[in-house]
């Protein structure tokens, strides 16, 4: 992504285009985006949609969520690599927090720590031999990492007390179940894409 002042851009353009930009209201900053940027934005928007969708699903315990947006992260990881997946995942966390109005609140940092640790684990998990390990493995590893990241923030910052250890088995079980389900869904999408190519 490249950000530059619009005034420089005008001189580079042709005469008729220059007139147009004189008539049209001028933006002070012009973003030059690449096709990849558009792609990241599109995938992040899909992930965001899933985040909003699952916010409507009632949860028996605060914090136990399916994490449907991670399906998008997995698909992006498989098709475009880790860098793009990291962009999509972190943009989703940021935009999601703005959407729900919890930017820079504890909830935001919980999402962020979970996403960061998942991405870290995925950075290694993507090199698992493809022959034996599919998206389901990656999804399960990422789900456990997500829980671990969140519990770390909860313990070190929000509730520095050993009592939260009681919740870990519940979260771990949820991570296993939802990690598997999300992985299967992602695998289905990835396989469809491979078959249609």
């Amino acid at each position: 992504m490249r950000i530059e002042d619009c005034s420089e851009g005008v001189t580079e353009r042709g005469a008729d285009e220059g007139v147009n930009s004189l008539l049209a209201p001028r933006a002070s900053i012009l973003l030059h985006t690449t096709a990849e940027d558009h792609h990241v934005a599109r995938m992040a928007a899909v992930a965001l949609g899933l985040t909003v969708l699952e916010a409507a699903i009632p949860s028996p315990l605060p914090g136990v969520k399916p994490g449907l947006a991670n399906i998008v992260t997995l698909i992006v990881l498989a098709r475009y690599g880790w860098r793009t997946a990291a962009w999509v995942s972190l943009l989703r966390v940021l935009a999601g927090s703005l959407l729900f109005g919890n930017f820079l609140t504890p909830g935001f940092f919980l999402s962020l720590s979970g996403a960061l640790l998942s991405l870290l684990v995925l950075a290694f998990a993507q090199y698992l031999p493809r022959r034996w390990f599919g998206p389901v493995s990656q999804s399960i590893f990422a789900a456990f990492a997500h829980i671990a990241g969140q519990m770390a923030v909860v313990y070190w910052w929000l509730i520095p007390h050993a009592g939260i250890a009681y919740l870990i088995p519940i979260f771990a079980a949820a991570a296993l179940v939802f990690g598997t389900v999300n992985g299967l869904i992602a695998a289905r999408f990835i396989n469809n894409a491979v078959n249609s190519d």
Binding site: F133, G134, F144, G163, P169, L176
Partner: protein, 126 residues
């Protein structure tokens, strides 16, 4: 539907699944099996009436404003066997075994709290 989904599970995925399940089970056993208690702290009117080890079976009579509460200790467990309180909540709570468990008879101001070798929390604020 089921067979279609199972197609996406490779050998390593099964391995990961089993590994994850083992982790969950181990975590559950490790974190949910509470520490066994060593002692019972019996309070009456907010003051410690007696601290008794659970190793010896005995019955203890504790006086309160309504009458006598009878506390029974049997086989490393403790319970309030009888109590003059009207709703009998503490009696119906039954046997206490793990550290941190507590039975309160509020009307008679009697309580039994089990403690382990190390003191756990008794309140949590956020």
């Amino acid at each position: 539907m089921q067979t279609v989904m199972l197609r996406y599970l490779k050998v390593g995925d099964w391995l990961t699944l089993v590994l994850g399940a083992v982790c969950v089970v181990l975590l559950t056993f490790k974190l949910w099996s509470g520490e066994l208690a060593d002692q019972a702290i019996i309070r009456s009117g907010g003051k410690i009436f007696q601290t008794v080890p659970l190793s010896r079976n005995q019955n203890i009579e504790v006086p309160g404003p309504l009458g006598i509460s009878l506390i029974a200790i049997l086989n490393r467990k403790a319970r309030i066997a009888s109590d003059p309180s009207p709703r009998q909540y503490c009696v119906r709570q039954g046997w206490l075994q793990q550290a941190g468990e507590i039975a309160l008879c509020l009307p008679n101001q009697v309580s039994v709290e089990l403690v382990g070798s190390r003191k756990r929390y008794d309140s949590l604020n956020y």
